[in-house]
Symmetry: C2
Subunit: 126 residues, 2 copies
């Protein structure tokens, strides 16, 4: 299946401008048809979904671009790419751990507020 940039935008939820920007930044390189229009493929779709994951886990665009370059270079870069992903997984694990710690503190804070609110209500009614 092939998609125009408009269709691909709806499919990915990524805004036409953003897709062109990603292409400019070297993240993705869709084919062009006779009239120079972009033709996104299903492979592009899989790839952009992965890009979205990398972004959502905090990888900056420059780094994704680097990964994309390795990817374009094919099999000889397999272990380089894996190395990148292993590094990124480490960062992701740390991020999750940090967030879980924040969550605990936030739960405590909310409990504290619940008590404070009860306390102030009692003070008002007494």
């Amino acid at each position: 299946m092939e998609y125009s940039i408009g269709d691909f935008s709806k499919l990915t939820g990524l805004g036409i401008h953003t897709l062109r920007y990603y292409e400019q930044e070297g993240l993705i390189a869709p084919e062009r048809n006779s009239g120079n229009r972009r033709c996104y493929s299903d492979k592009d779709l899989t790839w952009i979904e992965f890009i979205k994951r990398l972004k959502d886990t905090g990888m900056p665009i420059k780094e994704i671009k680097h990964y994309a370059e390795l990817r374009a270079a094919g099999d000889p870069t397999l272990s380089d790419r894996m190395e990148m992903l292993v590094q990124h997984r480490k960062a992701l694990n740390e991020q999750i751990a940090r967030l879980q710690d924040h969550k605990i503190k936030l739960d405590e804070k909310i409990d504290f507020y619940r008590n404070e609110i009860k306390r102030t209500q009692n003070n008002v009614s007494s």
Copy 2:
């Protein structure tokens, strides 16, 4: 205990410029001494540590500023603040869930790479 901006910077890890910026944005309002120098207190320290958590969990500065304003208004805003935190906790839980999903996919991808690398090495040696 009271701290100069320099000491407070070291204490919080937040750069002098950043501390002044936060003040400008209405996140924190340290006392001033006779010579107009900022005097950060231990309460400020507790508060800034909480700000750091909010930031680290993705709350934008404008929203933190709003929270700070409610906080400055005292007890009458307790339930508003709790409401904000409950909302934020919801977002945080979603964020953690998303990241955990990403982590699973990343693990799979890394496994895939491990196999691919093995495969290509076999091909080379055969």
